[in-house]
């Protein structure tokens, strides 16, 4: 387990309207094959921006994104994205929304429909396939969002605070489902990079936690977590890990 799948080198970024203010200042880190990486940092520090750069939804000012040894210049089907606010198209049914994930695939319409239905079923949503997203609760919307992201069998999954728009109970249930699905072998996703500002969440599911500082945003520290799954939130090692991340964040 040492094959690097996705790597960023020296990413610098600032928004057009304030070019002098660096949002990201020389960010570099790697995600290995099979690894679950969490990016954690204070809110507003540029986590969403960084994740969008990883997906090449926005170009960095300088620095590079490298996927499997090749430099990336545009979004690729191999790297998918889950949005914090779901980003479902309100005028499409849930099934059609999942099919959007296959818009770029060279398979027949029938095949797309079959795959999308299968994915909805896996997420426990087959009964609402023909509803519009506005009829769903937040947790269910995010399930559709995740189904859309993985229906095209991507290799890397980027998630931007996927559970933070949900209430705690819903978030816990969905997190459990998603993690066990991502860890299982019947899903193509190998590596996951997730943005969060929830320390417990990061410790519960990551192999590696990348802690970001604010103003300018740099990498404070990378922390490997060698705990076995599933992790018990009340165990001593878990709580020690949580304390350590808090310490890094507030230092």
């Amino acid at each position: 387990m040492s094959e690097v799948v996705l790597e960023v080198r020296d990413i610098v970024f600032s928004y057009d309207d304030s070019p002098s203010q660096r949002i990201l200042d020389k960010i570099s880190f790697k995600a290995q094959k099979g690894e679950f990486v969490s990016l954690i940092g204070p809110s507003g520090c540029g986590k969403s921006t960084l994740l969008r750069i990883l997906a090449r939804l926005i170009p960095p000012v300088s620095g590079e994104v490298i996927y499997k040894g090749k430099r990336l210049y545009a979004p690729t089907r191999e790297i998918s994205f889950v949005f914090q606010d779901f980003a479902l198209l309100p005028w499409l049914t849930n099934l059609e929304n999942v099919k959007i994930g296959l818009a770029n695939s060279e398979i027949s319409e029938e095949e797309k429909k079959r795959k999308a239905s299968g994915m909805l079923e896996k997420m426990g949503l087959e009964s609402v396939a023909d509803y519009y997203p506005n009829a769903l609760s937040g947790g269910m919307k995010q399930r559709v969002g995740i189904a859309r992201a993985i229906v095209s069998d991507p290799n890397v999954l980027l998630m931007d605070e996927p559970f933070s728009s949900l209430d705690e109970l819903t978030a816990n249930a969905l997190r459990g489902d998603v993690v066990s699905m991502l860890k299982s072998s019947d899903i193509s996703v190998n590596s996951v990079i997730m943005v969060t500002h929830n320390v417990e969440e990061a410790v519960e599911i990551s192999d590696k936690i990348v802690v970001l500082s604010n103003k300018p945003t740099k990498i404070k520290q990378e922390m490997q977590l060698k705990l076995s799954y599933p992790r018990n939130r009340h165990s001593k090692v878990f709580m020690q890990a949580v304390d350590k991340v808090y310490e890094l964040l507030t230092k």
Binding site: P75, L89, P90, E96, A103, N134
Partner: protein
């Protein structure tokens, strides 16, 4: 005419037009404040005023101009009557969205204000002056900007209309001056005149409305949200949104409840039973009211039918007029919808380009706001001259005028409403590589639909408005009235000709048919579409 005196004349003419506009705006604001506050504070008034305003807002009232001018000149002979008619007409174009603005501003006032007023024992007049009017002013200013551009269309068109009839000539006005310049072959001066007109439009926007906006938003900041709203819809969407809400509030709440339960228990349809259990009692009450309404409606229809029969028997010519009006209406309908199809075919790809491909939509917004406020009818004289000599030149003229009258409204409305498309949708498109046919199918056509619908209503209304000059255009020369451009059949032409020949019965019948048609199309096409779309979209 030397250049200096020409400029002086043009500026004077434009000033004369602008005086009419300011008079109309002032009256519109007074009217709106009175009616808007009344509607917002009295439930009874609300129930009558809102639907009436809603209907008037989508009627092409300019088509009533021949009728209005006839009445006004009959009451107030000569120059005063004509100007009063023009100002009255502009008021009827300006007032509706301002009324909605005032109504909403007062309606959303927190209850504490009323309690405060009670506490200090304020009189009704004090409440109006100290609470309602200050609360409404930002919206009044905001809506006035829109009203101004709609009013300009009415102003120029009615001025242009008036040159065809010596009895009803406005005499001084930019529309009149430009037409005269074009027909005297002085195209350079015509172009300069248009430039002066546009300069007035821009100057008014920035030197008159902008300071007002700044002043009135100082102490009562207009939220970003409401600004967006304002840009969105020329008030029409607001009416569309609001009326169903008002009329169907209980039904909607019920639907919301059941949607909520469905969302939580998607599989358990039986759990919805709770939401429906409350229905029967309400249902019986509704049925009774419905029955009563049906009975009354039946009686009214019977009385109306008998009246109609009496009129027809007494004046058989009415049947002939009705036939003529229907045929004219059908032909104009085809003409206007053909132009509308052309508008869509061009405006839609242009909007997709501006919004999804060039991505500078915000910088275009102000541009189209200004463009949309330059009335297409100001180009009528030059279009007529340019097309003269071609086969079917009158049809072509009508087509071009209809096209130019409507297209900006679509582009403006679509671009304005696109500012509410969430940025993530653009990211989804890029992320999943949605291109070509699927982009049109899954994103463009759907994302732009709400703006397209509200834009269509205004665009088509603008076309109908233009019909009184587009289908039949005359000038007055030394030798009397001079028909420059005339289609063979059309409702606009019918209205003009019936004014010219003093056949007021025919005119009224034509107007009734036009009004009925507009109401039917709005109710059964646009409102349904809009409701359907806005239900799924949010």
């Amino acid at each position: 005419m030397d250049f200096i005196s020409f400029i002086a004349l043009i500026v004077l003419d434009t000033t004369a037009s602008w005086l009419r506009m300011f008079a109309a705006l002032f009256l519109s604001i007074l009217l709106s404040i009175a009616v808007g506050i009344y509607a917002a504070t009295s439930r009874k008034a609300e129930r009558i005023i809102l639907p009436v305003v809603d209907i008037f807002q989508t009627l092409p009232i300019l088509a009533f101009f021949p009728f209005v001018i006839y009445i006004f000149v009959f009451l107030l002979p000569g120059y005063i009557g004509i100007n009063a008619a023009v100002i009255f007409l502009i008021v009827t174009s300006m007032a509706w969205n301002i009324i909605f603005g005032v109504y909403e501003a007062v309606k959303v006032l927190p209850n504490e204000f009323v309690e405060l007023a009670d506490l200090y024992d304020m009189s009704s007049w004090q409440r109006v002056r100290k609470i309602f009017i200050p609360a409404a002013m930002p919206r009044v200013v905001e809506q006035s900007v829109l009203s101004w551009s709609i009013g300009l269309f009415y102003l120029v068109t009615s001025e242009i209309f008036s040159i065809g009839n010596a009895n009803y000539a406005v005499k001084y006005g930019i529309g009149v001056a430009l037409a005269q310049l074009a027909f005297s072959g002085n195209y350079l001066y015509y172009a300069i005149g248009i430039a002066v007109f546009i300069a007035f439009v821009v100057a008014t926007r920035f030197l008159f409305f902008r300071p007002l906006e700044l002043h009135f938003t100082k102490y009562n900041r207009v939220s970003e949200e409401s600004k967006k709203h304002f840009a969105l819809h020329f008030g029409i969407a607001k009416a569309f949104n609001y009326l169903p809400k008002l009329v169907r509030a209980p039904a909607k709440r019920l639907r919301a409840i059941s949607a909520f339960r469905r969302a939580r228990h998607p599989a358990g349809a039986s759990r919805n039973a709770g939401a429906h259990a409350a229905l029967p009692r309400e249902g019986i009450k509704n049925l009774k009211i419905k029955g009563l309404k049906k009975g009354l409606g039946g009686i009214a229809a019977l009385v109306l039918a008998m009246l109609l029969l009496a009129v027809v028997l007494r004046y058989p010519v009415v049947v002939h007029y009705e036939y003529e009006a229907l045929v004219s209406l059908a032909v104009s309908f085809a003409r206007i919808w053909l132009a509308f199809a052309a508008i869509l075919a061009i405006a839609f790809p242009v909007c997709v380009y501006l919004i999804f491909i060039s991505k500078h939509r915000n910088s275009y917004l102000l541009f189209f706001q200004v463009i949309a406020s330059i009335p297409a009818t100001i180009l009528l004289p030059i279009i007529v001259i340019a097309l003269k000599g071609y086969a079917l030149h009158s049809e072509l003229t009508a087509f071009v005028i209809f096209f130019l009258s409507g297209i900006w409204y679509i582009i403006f409305s679509v671009i304005a409403s696109s500012t509410s498309i969430s940025g993530e949708i653009f990211e989804v498109k890029r992320l999943f590589g949605i291109k070509g046919k699927s982009a049109w199918k899954y994103i463009y056509s759907r994302a732009l639909l709400p703006g397209l619908i509200t834009g269509s209503v205004t665009a088509i209304a603008a076309e109908w408005n233009a019909s009184i000059v587009a289908e039949y255009f005359t000038t007055t020369g030394i030798s009397g009235t001079n028909v420059v451009s005339s289609v063979s059949v059309g409702i606009g032409k019918l209205l003009d000709v019936s004014l010219g020949s003093g056949n007021i019965t025919l005119m009224i019948i034509a107007l009734l048919n036009l009004t009925a048609m507009i109401i039917i199309v709005n109710t059964f096409l646009w409102k349904r579409l809009y409701r359907k779309v806005s239900n799924t979209y949010k």
